[in-house]
C-alpha cells in the first residue's frame, strides 16, 4: 500500500513535470500580458443626449464618407440612404422610438458602445478585436479569421459582417481612429452634429457633463442616470434619454461585464493552468499502473489460451 502510494506520487510528479515543461509558456505569457480590462484614465468616448437630437441624420452620411462606406439605399428603393439596422454598410444609425400610445418618443444613436471590458475583445481568439490607445475598440483585418464570435458575444449586437463578400470584414464604429489625430480632431459624427447632441471627449469629462445635465433637470432623464456608466462593466460611449433605455435597444445589463464573468469561471476551473497540469499528472500516475497490468495480462494470455475466461471471471 505504502509503496504503491509512493509510486503514484512519483508518477504524479514525473507527469506534472512533463506537462509543466510543455506548457510553461502558457501561464507565464498570461501573467505577463498587461491587464486591459480596466478603465484607462484617458479613455475616449461619446456622449449622446437623445433629448438634444433632432433626428436630422447628418451624422450618418458623415460617417459613411469618413469610413469610405457605400450608402445603404435598400430601405428607400434606391433613392436615398435608408438603412433599417446597423449592417455591413452602416456603422452609425439614428433610430426613432415611438411608444405604442404615440406620445413618448426618442431618437437613438446606435453604434459601438466601446465597452471598458468588451465581450468582443475578450472573445476574439486572435486579438483582431482589441483595445487601441484610449480604450477605443479597434478591429484588425490581418488577424481576423471571420469566426464571428464577436457577433455572438456583443450584448448590444453591434459588430456586423460582410455576408456577401469572399473577403469579408467585421464592420463597426472605431471612433474614427483612422483620422482622429491626423486629419481630424474628432469623429465625423460629432463634428457635423448641429445641436451637439453627440459630443466627443474623455469619458471622465463626458460622464461629469452628463451628471451635470441630470442635476440641472432632476426627473427629466430616465431614472436620473446615464446609460453606460455601469452597464456591462461600463461603456465609453454614454447615452442620456428621457425614455426607458431598454426601449432604445439598450438592454438591462449588470454591473459586471460578461467578459469578467466568463474570466471568473475560467479562472475558477483552470487556476492559471494548474488544474490541467495536475489532472494530467494524476492520469499518468493511474494509467501507468493499469498499463503495466494490461501488458502483463496480454503477455500471459499469449502463452496460455485463457484470455477470455480470465477476463470475464
Amino acid at each position: 500500500m505504502d509503496a504503491n502510494r509512493r509510486e503514484i506520487l512519483k508518477a504524479l510528479m514525473g507527469g506534472s513535470a512533463v506537462a509543466a515543461l510543455a506548457t510553461t509558456g502558457l501561464p507565464l505569457a498570461t501573467q505577463a500580458k498587461p491587464e486591459k480590462f480596466e478603465l484607462e484614465p484617458d479613455a475616449l468616448g461619446l456622449l449622446y443626449d437623445a433629448t438634444k437630437c433632432i433626428g436630422c441624420r447628418a451624422c450618418m452620411p458623415a460617417c459613411q464618407n469618413a469610413n469610405g462606406l457605400a450608402a445603404d439605399v435598400g430601405g428607400s428603393g434606391g433613392l436615398y440612404m435608408q438603412p433599417d439596422t446597423l449592417n455591413a454598410h452602416t456603422k452609425n444609425l439614428i433610430k426613432l422610438y415611438v411608444a405604442a400610445d404615440g406620445h413618448e418618443r426618442s431618437f437613438m444613436k446606435q453604434q459601438c458602445m466601446h465597452c471598458v471590458d468588451p465581450a468582443c475583445v475578450s472573445g476574439c481568439p486572435m486579438e483582431a478585436l482589441h483595445k487601441e490607445p484610449h480604450g477605443v475598440v479597434g478591429w484588425s483585418s490581418t488577424l481576423c479569421i471571420g469566426c464571428r464570435y464577436c457577433q455572438v458575444a456583443c450584448p448590444f449586437n453591434i459588430p456586423k459582417f460582410e455576408w456577401d463578400k469572399v473577403n469579408p470584414k467585421i464592420v463597426k464604429c472605431e471612433l474614427c481612429r483612422h483620422i482622429v489625430g491626423s486629419t481630424a480632431t474628432e469623429p465625423a459624427c460629432t463634428k457635423v452634429c448641429p445641436t451637439h447632441a453627440v459630443i466627443y471627449g474623455k469619458r471622465s469629462d463626458l460622464l461629469a457633463e452628463a451628471k451635470r445635465r441630470i442635476k440641472e433637470k432632476p426627473g427629466f432623464y430616465f431614472e436620473d442616470r446615464v446609460y453606460g456608466e455601469f452597464e456591462a462593466g461600463g461603456t465609453q460611449c454614454l447615452v442620456l434619454s428621457h425614455v426607458d433605455y431598454s426601449n432604445l435597444g439598450l438592454p438591462k445589463l449588470g454591473k459586471e461585464s460578461p467578459a469578467a464573468q466568463t474570466r471568473k469561471v475560467s479562472d475558477f476551473v483552470y487556476r492559471g493552468f494548474l488544474t490541467p497540469v495536475v489532472v494530467y499528472g494524476g492520469i499518468v500516475a493511474i494509467v501507468r499502473n493499469r498499463w503495466k497490468e494490461h501488458l502483463e495480462h496480454a503477455g500471459h494470455s499469449d502463452s496460455g489460451e485463457t484470455h477470455g475466461e480470465e477476463k470475464r471471471a
Binding site: P125, M126, A128, G146, V152, P155, F161, K252, V265, P276
Partner: protein
C-alpha cells in the same frame, strides 16, 4: 445468443456496396458545395445573418456533433481510469468514431470561418488571446484532432503496415508500436486532458453571450453540463455505432459490454440531470420551465428526451434486449444533442428582428460532412481491424499478437 467480444477484426466485405456509394455521393456533394461557398460569400449560400451569425456549421457540426464524437475519450476513461477492462475490445471503434465526429466538426468549421487564410497566425503565439474561450477551443480541439486522436487511431494502421511483405514497413510498424507502448500513459493522458478542456469550454463559449441566452440555459455551470453531456453522448454514439454494426455485419451481441455501457450512460445522465436541476433551482430559474412559452417547451422536451431513456435503461430487461437498448439510446442521444444545440441557437435571442433557419445549401453541406464520416467509417472497418468480434468470428490471420495491446 449472447457472445463475448474479444478482439478486433477486419470485415471481409466488398467496399463499394450501395450504402457506401450513397454516403460517398452525399459527402462529395457536400464538399463540392463547400468549395462553391469558398468562392461566394457566406450570405449567398447560408441563412446566417448579423443576429444569428452562428448556425448549423458551428452549433450543430461543432458544438453538438463533437460531443457525439467524445466516445473515444469517454470509453477510454472507463477502461483506463475506472479499470473496466471489458471495454478494451471496443476501444478501436470508440476512438474511430471520435476521429470522425471531430473530423466533421473541423471540416464544418473550416468552411464556416470567413477569413480562413488568417489561420496561419495561429502559429504565432503573440497573436493568441489567452482570455478567449474560443481560442482555447480552437487550439485544444485542433491539437486533439490533429495529434492525439490520430495517435489513438494508429494501432489498426500499424497492423496493416505490419502485414505487408515489405520488411522495411514491418520494421517501421513495430518500431512505432514499441514507442507507443513505452509512452502510452503519457500519450493517453493528453487524450484525456484535451477533450476535458475543450468540451467544457464549448459551454463557456455561450456564457460570454450573457443575457442573450435564455436563463433556462444560461448558467456558469455550462462548462460542467457540456462536459458531462459529452460523456453521455460519447457513450451513446459508441453504443449506437456498435449496435448498428453488430446488426449489419452479424458481429454477435456482447450483452455485458453494451449493457454496462448503457448502465454507465444512464447513471451519468442522472448526475447530469441532478446538476442541471440543482443549478436551476439555485438560480431561481426553475419556474421558467413551466411558463409554456417556446423556451419552456424546448426545455421540457429536452428534459423528457434525456430523463425517460435514462430511467428505462436502468432496467436490466430494457438494457439487455438489443431493440429496446437501441431505441432508448437513440432517444437519449437526440435529447443530448438537443441540449448541446439549444443554448447556441434556439435559446439565443439577439437584439432586434432577426430570424434564422438554415438554407437547404447549408443543410446539404452539413449532411455531406456527416455522410463523409459514415463513408470513411465504412472504408475503415473494411480495411483495418476495428470492429470487435467474438472468438468464433476471429479468423486465424487476424491473430496479430504484437498489436493486440492497443
Amino acid at each position: 445468443m449472447t457472445e463475448h467480444w474479444e478482439r478486433c477484426i477486419r470485415l471481409k466485405e466488398p467496399l463499394k456496396t450501395r450504402p457506401f456509394l450513397i454516403f460517398a455521393g452525399i459527402a462529395g456533394l457536400g464538399l463540392l458545395l463547400g468549395l462553391y461557398r469558398e468562392v461566394t460569400g457566406l450570405g449567398y449560400v447560408t441563412g446566417l445573418n448579423d443576429g444569428y451569425s452562428w448556425g448549423l456549421f458551428k452549433n450543430w457540426n461543432v458544438t453538438a456533433l463533437t460531443a457525439l464524437g467524445s466516445g473515444g475519450y469517454a470509453v477510454a476513461v472507463l477502461a483506463w481510469i475506472f479499470n473496466e477492462k471489458r471495454f478494451h475490445p471496443i476501444m478501436r471503434t470508440a476512438v474511430l468514431t471520435s476521429l470522425l465526429g471531430y473530423g466533421t466538426g473541423m471540416l464544418a468549421l473550416g468552411f464556416d470561418v470567413g477569413r480562413p487564410w488568417n489561420f496561419v497566425w495561429l502559429a504565432d503565439p503573440r497573436t493568441w488571446n489567452h482570455y478567449s474561450v474560443l481560442w482555447e477551443v480552437a487550439v485544444c480541439m485542433t491539437a486533439y484532432f490533429m495529434l492525439a486522436l490520430d495517435v489513438e487511431n494508429m494501432p489498426p494502421f500499424l497492423e496493416f503496415l505490419y502485414k505487408s511483405n515489405d520488411p522495411k514497413k514491418k520494421d517501421l510498424a513495430l518500431r512505432i508500436f514499441r514507442f507507443m507502448q513505452r509512452t502510452f500513459p503519457f500519450g493517453i493522458a493528453i487524450a484525456f486532458v484535451l477533450p476535458s478542456m475543450h468540451q467544457s469550454s464549448l459551454g463557456s463559449l455561450m456564457y460570454l453571450a450573457g443575457p442573450r441566452v435564455h436563463p433556462l440555459w444560461q448558467t456558469p455551470m455550462l462548462p460542467l453540463l457540456y462536459l458531462l453531456m459529452a460523456y453521455i453522448l460519447g457513450f451513446a454514439c459508441v453504443l449506437l455505432v456498435l449496435a448498428l454494426s453488430a446488426y449489419s455485419w452479424n458481429l454477435g451481441w456482447d450483452k455485458e459490454i453494451l449493457g454496462r455501457l448503457a448502465q454507465v450512460m444512464s447513471w451519468t445522465t442522472l448526475i447530469w440531470l441532478a446538476v442541471r436541476f440543482a443549478d436551476l433551482s439555485y438560480r431561481g430559474a426553475l419556474g421558467l420551465a413551466l411558463t409554456f412559452d417556446k423556451f419552456s417547451i424546448y426545455f421540457l422536451a429536452e428534459t423528457a428526451l434525456i430523463l425517460v431513456p435514462s430511467l428505462m435503461l436502468l432496467l436490466r430487461a430494457q438494457r439487455e434486449a438489443p431493440g429496446s437498448l437501441f431505441r432508448w439510446t437513440f432517444l437519449m442521444a437526440l435529447g443530448g444533442l438537443f441540449y448541446r444545440f439549444t443554448p447556441t441557437t434556439l435559446a439565443f435571442s439577439p437584439l432586434g428582428d432577426y430570424r434564422y433557419f438554415p438554407s437547404s445549401f447549408e443543410i446539404l453541406m452539413s449532411i455531406g460532412f456527416t455522410a463523409l464520416a459514415v463513408a470513411v467509417f465504412l472504408y475503415a472497418v473494411k480495411t483495418f481491424a476495428i470492429l470487435p468480434a467474438s472468438r468464433g468470428k476471429i479468423a486465424a490471420e487476424e491473430a496479430m499478437r504484437p498489436f493486440d495491446t492497443l
